[in-house]
């Protein structure tokens, strides 16, 4: 029914893998962080070095600083970085989502202006979708942008905006026409300069103690008319077109991969039967998920928009990465009982505390299941 075809990574992708591994060996002092979550290490210096290597905007046209490489090559770069626990969050959204959005819907001016700095690892983007009263029901956003002369005047509040306090821009989903019968009509996307437009950014502490997401308040914030992305009123279509990119990548199942690594280290070469089974089980899930994700990369490469397949990979992948610390814990006690286990414990705790976010961000588990059900013809 929902079929994920067999896709082999081409030679070119395996060559890139080799280069990334070499590069990562030289970055040892930054690696690995205990948590391989894509959203948990903001390091502009590191992002710039990736930019130098041509590993940001890899699939984009050269004209805008891109590498005109395949989705498979990009796939390999992203999975290698995540698995190594590299700090990639600064450029992540710009590379994965905002850049491709601009490429597809942005004006020539916007592409020339915003894309090259992204590919250099110097310009970072945030996603401005959620609001206090609009989470899963994204079409209900209330932030408005009103056209006044050759400007947009913005009022409202965006919430949970990851890294708005560190990044340069936000692509905000706003209402440019009053709500009507068709709730998906009248929405638009605007580029906000988070440092210069006058939006008030307030970090919000999360359960790990970190300040990663934010509240962003717009009170009569005025931006030039040319900040609109695509056509006014086309926002819903544009937002949903980002989803296949947003949902199918390796960041949807590798967030706790470092726990797996430390589990293998902790149990050593003579695992008990239960420990071996847990490791084998995790490997079976991980290897299968990875192949499913590569299959979706193949669809993206072929120019398709596999929204349902992406939701399926995200859903299954999030469940896996959320369950992995629990699985580890069931066969290797997390109390520091022996020499060398501190690293395991640190990785475990840091990953565990992040697990609730996996099945929320980027569309909740329930929303993913709804998308899959639609793909099955049930709704």
């Amino acid at each position: 029914m929902l079929q994920l075809d067999s896709v082999d990574l081409p030679e070119s992708a395996e060559r890139v893998r080799h280069e990334v591994r070499e590069f990562l060996r030289a970055e040892r002092d930054r690696l690995p962080r205990p948590c391989s979550d894509f959203a948990s290490g903001h390091d502009p210096e590191f992002s710039r070095r990736l930019g130098e290597r041509g590993w940001i905007g890899m699939t984009w046209p050269k004209q805008y600083g891109g590498g005109e490489r395949t989705f498979f090559e990009r796939y390999v770069v992203t999975e290698e970085l995540l698995a190594a626990g590299a700090p990639v969050s600064a450029h992540w959204i710009a590379d994965r989502q905002s850049g491709p959005l601009l490429l597809r819907y942005g004006s020539e001016d916007q592409k020339n202006r915003y894309l090259p700095p992204i590919t250099r690892g110097e310009s970072y983007f945030s996603i401005g979708m959620s609001e206090p009263n609009s989470g899963s029901d994204l079409a209900s956003v209330r932030t408005t942008a009103e056209r006044v002369g050759d400007q947009w005047r913005i009022n409202g509040t965006k919430l949970w905006t990851t890294d708005a306090h560190r990044n340069h821009y936000m692509v905000a989903l706003v209402r440019t026409e009053p709500p009507s019968e068709n709730r998906h009509a009248g929405l638009s996307q605007l580029l906000i300069d988070l440092r210069n437009d006058g939006a008030a950014v307030r970090p919000i502490r999360n359960i790990t103690g970190a300040e990663d997401f934010n509240e962003v308040v717009f009170e009569d914030v005025v931006v030039p008319a040319d900040r609109i992305v695509g056509e006014p009123g086309n926002g819903w279509k544009q937002v949903t077109s980002e989803l296949a990119y947003e949902r199918s990548g390796p960041e949807r199942f590798l967030s706790t991969f470092r726990v797996f690594v430390e589990l293998v280290r902790a149990v050593g070469t003579q695992p008990t039967a239960d420990q071996a089974a847990a490791i084998g089980r995790a490997a079976a899930h991980l290897m299968t998920l990875r192949r499913m994700s590569i299959s979706v990369a193949g669809m993206l490469e072929a120019g398709k928009s596999p929204e349902v397949e992406a939701a399926l990979v995200k859903s299954l992948g999030n469940d896996f990465e959320q369950a992995l610390p629990e699985l580890a814990r069931s066969v290797a006690p997390t109390a520091p009982v022996a020499e060398g286990w501190d690293r395991y414990r640190e990785t475990f705790v840091e990953s565990l505390l992040n697990t609730p976010a996996f099945t929320l961000r980027g569309g909740t588990r329930e929303i993913m299941r709804g998308v899959i059900a639609r793909g099955l013809g049930l709704r």
Binding site: L4, A273, L312, A373
Partner: protein
């Protein structure tokens, strides 16, 4: 690949014609489905794994997967592999597993001229079948007979017999899982309660979404292991089979209960066809190594490699294929 598609299309017609509820029951009652088997033989579908057939080995496994979709009550996998190893499709030779002094779990051993017993990870022994064969069935009512090992002949084969056997069961499970999903989707669209189809209830939608994800994972896992046939590295092949068998086995334990839940009481009746598929899932996940068996095997290997080589293991390219 095109020839595989053609092959599967014609096989689909054969299975669809011969695997209705009545015939599944008759086979379960102990009557070998001679008509269906006659079609298989006539079309040479039991010879696809023999080098002289000209088919790719993967074709044979794709066919077994299709057989699983239809719960085809024949020893297709077993005879296909036996023919490859004996080189003689003229005799009906089936497969089972060596257990102490016996070969057990021989698919339709009572119909066979001879049986090959596989030792997990070890040798394969050929034994002639005689009247002493004991009739047994697995939980889905499939003939799984047993015979004492007398005057065995050790087969001189290069194939990893146990792993190929496990790969075949993996493929059949993947096919069968797909069918269970289809039956469930169809049923919830038809059955009405509270004035609307069950499909319109979110709880039902989410159950089927979970099922669909498991089925897609199982199908990808099985497909990837089939793709590894012919790899130059036998150890890697064994581990890939293990990954796949473990993954599809786990899917069985999630998919079958959901299928029964959404079918309600009708799905618990013998009259309904669902159990022919779900009982096979429950049977097959334990045959050729349960998920626990394969998880341990893969896990021991990974632990032996150590933490620093885990990622390398996960990402090893399929181009290890020769």
């Amino acid at each position: 690949m095109d020839t595989r598609k053609l092959l599967l299309e014609s096989a689909e017609r054969i299975f669809a014609d011969h695997c209705d509820k009545e015939r599944l029951e008759s086979a379960e009652g102990g009557a070998f489905p001679e008509k269906l088997w006659g079609q298989i033989e006539e079309n040479g579908l039991h010879m696809l794994a023999m080098p002289e057939s000209g088919a790719e080995l993967g074709d044979a496994f794709a066919l077994v997967q299709l057989g699983g979709r239809h719960a085809a009550p024949i020893p297709l996998l077993e005879v296909t592999l036996a023919n490859r190893w004996t080189g003689d499709a003229g005799r009906f030779v089936s497969l089972g597993v060596v257990s102490g002094e016996r070969i057990v779990d021989i698919a339709w051993g009572r119909r066979a001229d001879a049986a090959i017993g596989i030792e997990p990870g070890g040798e394969a022994l050929l034994v002639e079948v005689d009247a002493d064969i004991e009739h047994r069935v697995n939980p889905s009512g499939e003939a799984r007979d047993s015979i004492e090992i007398r005057q065995p002949r050790t087969l001189d084969i290069e194939d990893p017999a146990w792993e190929l056997f496990a790969l075949g069961r993996t493929a059949a499970i993947a096919g069968c899982l797909g069918r269970v999903l289809e039956l469930s989707v169809q049923y919830v669209n038809e059955r009405q309660q509270f004035g609307r189809p069950l499909a319109k209830f979110q709880a039902i939608q989410h159950s089927l979404a979970i099922m669909a994800a498991e089925v897609a994972a199982a199908s990808r896992a099985a497909g990837s292991a089939i793709d590894m046939l012919g790899t130059a590295n036998p150890e890697r092949f064994a581990l890939e089979v293990g990954v796949a068998k473990a993954r599809v086995g786990e899917a069985c334990g999630i998919v079958a209960p959901i299928a029964h839940q959404v079918h309600g009481a009708i799905g618990f009746t013998h009259e309904h066809q669902l159990h022919h598929f779900t009982r096979r899932l429950w049977s097959w996940r334990d045959e050729a190594g349960s998920e626990r068996y394969w998880q341990e095997r893969v896990g021991r290997h990974v632990a032996g490699l150590g933490a620093e080589r885990l990622w390398e293991f996960v990402t090893a390219p399929n181009s290890l294929r020769s």
